[in-house]
């Protein structure tokens, strides 16, 4: 299936369909439903230097065509990942990409350094866009200067493929993308969740323990598409498109807007086999449009 191959910098993916961090655990959660080896890549759960308990319950609120979450990066820390989880997933015949988050610049650097030695982790995704942690997280992704600083610091210690995951909660996402490209990022993934909130009118209380949380799902797709298009017109590095993808048509739209690959996120919860359907649907699209390679549609929006 060579015609599905795409490249994120020097990293080759067998197809452009990957799964978004925070919606796919470590992959094993989905092993009953799909053949994980067919995925282009798995972006595993957000990993931090130290273990994090995450935020209090309730962490989730359903909204029209989407959901809010405020999980708060619950994870057992990078050492636990390396010692206990990585040995179990390293044999998968797909790309394992670790999403790295932190509260301080030093956290990002140390966490990235530890992951560099893992031979079956060819890339990391720097999460400078999590809206659900009190300190750090999204704060790094909302100004060009701080986004550039953290990218530069990690780039200095991490030689493999470096993807930076951007926040949509900014005035000019293209400027942020440009800033991280200038500091050596190999790729940008966008978008992370939109900051939102939900209220229970009867009780006058917020539906999330943290009051605000990250909005995801099909409701964000039009905004995410627009942002991918804007970033595509501003940078030269490959883009990984994210935002409410729930069908092959959605994935193709993101590729036409300029994405080299896509991540499927929230919709995995509704249909755990959606990623396989998207791969099959893209193959079908290539046949119907008589295309030799999926690369032929990247950024080919006709305006």
């Amino acid at each position: 299936m060579d015609r599905l191959k795409v490249n994120i910098g020097k990293l080759e993916l067998q197809n452009p369909v990957t799964t978004a961090s925070g919606t796919f655990g470590y992959g094993v959660e989905y092993a009953d439903f799909i053949d994980l080896n067919r995925l282009g890549a798995i972006f595993v759960k957000g990993t931090t230097l130290e273990p994090r308990q995450g935020n209090d319950y309730p962490r989730m609120a359903e909204t029209p065509s989407g959901m809010l979450n405020s999980v708060g990066l619950q994870n057992k820390g990078v050492d636990y990942f390396i010692e206990r989880i990585y040995p179990g997933i390293r044999e998968y015949n797909t790309r394992i990409i670790v999403n790295v988050s932190g509260s301080t610049l030093e956290d990002y650097v140390k966490c990235s350094e530890r992951l560099e030695d893992l031979d079956k982790v060819p890339a990391i995704e720097l999460n400078i866009s999590c809206p659900n942690i009190k300190e750090g997280g999204m704060a790094f992704g909302t100004t060009c200067q701080s986004a550039a600083n953290v990218t530069k610091a990690v780039r200095n210690v991490y030689r493999k493929t470096l993807i930076v995951k951007l926040s949509p909660n900014v005035t000019d996402i293209a400027a942020i993308a440009k800033a991280v490209e200038d500091e050596g990022a190999d790729s940008v993934s966008l978008v992370n969740t939109f900051l939102g909130m939900a209220i229970d009118a009867e009780t006058r209380k917020p539906r999330l323990s943290t009051v605000t949380g990250g909005l995801s799902g099909p409701c964000i797709k039009p905004i995410a598409l627009r942002m991918v298009w804007q970033v595509y017109n501003a940078v030269r590095i490959p883009i990984i498109g994210i935002g409410g993808i729930s069908s092959a048509a959605d994935a193709i739209e993101f590729m036409l807007a300029g994405s080299t690959a896509v991540q499927i996120g929230t919709y995995n919860f509704i249909d755990p086999a959606i990623s396989m359907k998207v791969i099959d649907g893209i193959t079908d699209y290539l046949s119907r449009h008589k295309l030799k390679s999926v690369s032929e549609i990247i950024g080919k929006l006709e305006v």
């Binding site: 655990g25 995450g54 799902g217 995995n268 509704i270 755990p272």
Partner: protein
Amino acid sequence: MKVLDFTVRSNEPLNYQNNLIKVAPADNEPLPDMHPGQFVQVLVSNSGSVFLRRPISINFVDRGKNEMWLLVQRVGEGTRKICEITAGQTLNLIFPLGNSFSIPHKKGRYLLIGGGVGTAPMLFLGKKLNEKGFSAEFLLGGRSQRDILQISEFERLGSVYCTTEDGSLGEKGFVTDHSVLRNNSYDFIYTCGPKPMMMAVARYANTNKTGCEASLENLMACGFGACLCCIEKTTRGNLCSCTDGPVFNINELTWTD
């Protein structure tokens, strides 16, 4: 776990807010092993406002008919939509999900306490205890007589005691007020229902040094351990109530005395 289309064999309203939906695999494949306490995630079709699946406890499994029963309480738009389904239509489920109640190894007195729609998994559990040769006793609670569901089904499996808040059926009051708790001692208690009820049951169990498991119904998105939304704070840290639960020993929970 798998995603499978089921054909609805029947959908019958049991009272003003609960439906009993009986389903069988659309392709007639035999149902896999399922255990009391486990649940399914129901896809809600044809609703603009409902996005996520709805977790529904397995009420009963009829092996002879290769049929699974789902007792659904209409609490919001999602469960209302599910209850609109008619015989012959398709219901897409992810199943079976979650852990299950622990089944004892020796004869004893086992009390199954359910409140409202929380009685749903107790029918399946009672059946399993019977199959193991153990008797089960059921203590069912509700606001009023019309809230006590499936009494005749429960009576086939063991003794049934009821409480209603208005006294219209059984003893008046909450389940923990029932005389059966004062006059007997039990080897193990299983409970599912509203949290205040389960807290009271846990208090009774702790006071009487009786082992007890409770089934929780935290809000969840995926149902299989990926989203980390349905966490329960426990003595072992934050656990997913979908995969580490929904059944927890009360000793692990932080809201029990």
